[in-house]
């Protein structure tokens, strides 16, 4: 029995196998957002219609929901109704839509057709998407009155999910 060989063999292979075993089930694309419990990025968002813009920091004092969406994104279209309704039912919360990787015309067309209860903004240079660390759509950020992001939700929202989060964001 060669203890040295056995030792080296175990030391080299056992940790590697254990590591792989522990990682079974890991989803490499599920990246946690580093912005949780951090101040929301203070970006300037351009209005979809006409000129003018909105600075995110100007909304401080109210809870804010920032929803990134696109017309080519099916789940975004699905969650549009729930978001519109939640915006109407919760006037104390500021809802914002930000168009991601899509043209202003497409967005305007969609909103004209489907209606909306809150403003959507253009982000042609992608600065808002980058600042918020957006990977895809839909992604929704929940910001409290103090301007801190308390949650990033990836995927389409529905009424129940929204209700829970709006309660949390008001605290």
């Amino acid at each position: 029995m060669n203890k040295g060989v056995l030792g080296v063999g175990v030391v080299v292979t056992a940790p590697l196998l254990a590591l792989l075993l522990l990682n079974i089930g890991r989803n490499p694309s599920a990246i946690a957002s580093p912005l949780i419990d951090k101040p929301a990025p203070n970006v300037r968002l351009k209005n979809l219609e006409g000129g003018g813009s909105l600075q995110v920091s100007s909304l401080r004092g109210k809870p804010v929901v920032v929803n990134f969406w696109a017309t080519w994104c099916i789940p975004c279209i699905q969650e549009h109704a729930a978001l519109t309704q939640a915006a109407r039912a919760n006037p104390d919360v500021a809802f914002l839509g930000v168009v991601y990787e899509d043209s202003t015309e497409n967005a305007r067309g969609f909103l004209a057709q489907r209606g909306s209860a809150y403003n959507s903004y253009a982000d042609d240079e992608g600065k808002a998407a980058i600042a918020f660390g957006v990977y895809g759509v839909p992604e929704t950020f929940f910001i409290n009155r103090g301007g801190t992001i308390i949650e990033k939700y990836v995927g389409p929202l529905d009424d129940d999910l929204l209700r829970e989060r709006l309660a949390a964001v008001r605290k």
């Binding site: 990246i31 203070n42 970006v43 990787e101 992608g126 980058i130 600042a131 990977y135």
Partner: protein, 221 residues
Amino acid sequence: MKPEVCLTRFRSPLIALVALSAMAGPGVLAQEKPRLDPEVIAILGEPDPPQNALDADVIAVLGRPEGTVPSDENGVNLRATAIGSKLRCPVCQGVAISDSPAGMAVKMRGQVRDLVAQGYSEEQVMLYFERSYGEFVRLEPPMRGLNVMLWLLPLAALAGGAFLVLKKSREPLKARPGSGTAATAHDDDDDDGIVVPKAPELDTALARYLERVRRDSGTST
């Protein structure tokens, strides 16, 4: 005018300006240009042109640029490309933003260029993206904490391996009884490619036996 003189003469308007900016904070940048005392404008000139919206967030995260503003567009491009090769495209699989044709990658490259053009240093640019996307976005992990192992382990392996090789190649030659049965015919360096099969095809156990016989009978060459 010498700077010291400038400061003492215009101390009060300078203090006023600093106090104004400090109090106004982000709100200032949110609305139109700050209303400045005409006297201040007359002395110090118009304030800088309104910066674009990026800066509100950038300044909040990074503060002032710590690098130098590149001298021309070529300089901007060179630096931006270098930084771009170290930033991971978050929507692609493992490529740098400088290598990806994806829409978000193009936009991130534009962002990097903006920051570089304003004079932000490489580390600042990386920090800006790390704020939004986390450590994940750095293709070369920063040397902090556990990441040190990424460098230490290979270096340790190199040192260990080199030591082993040197040790094996420096061990004193044991008394070679006739160089054993292996490779007597091969120790010459004129390896002209003809591998003389050991005649006969000796098995290792037999070889050792033969070796012992040779040693015992004193017929080693």
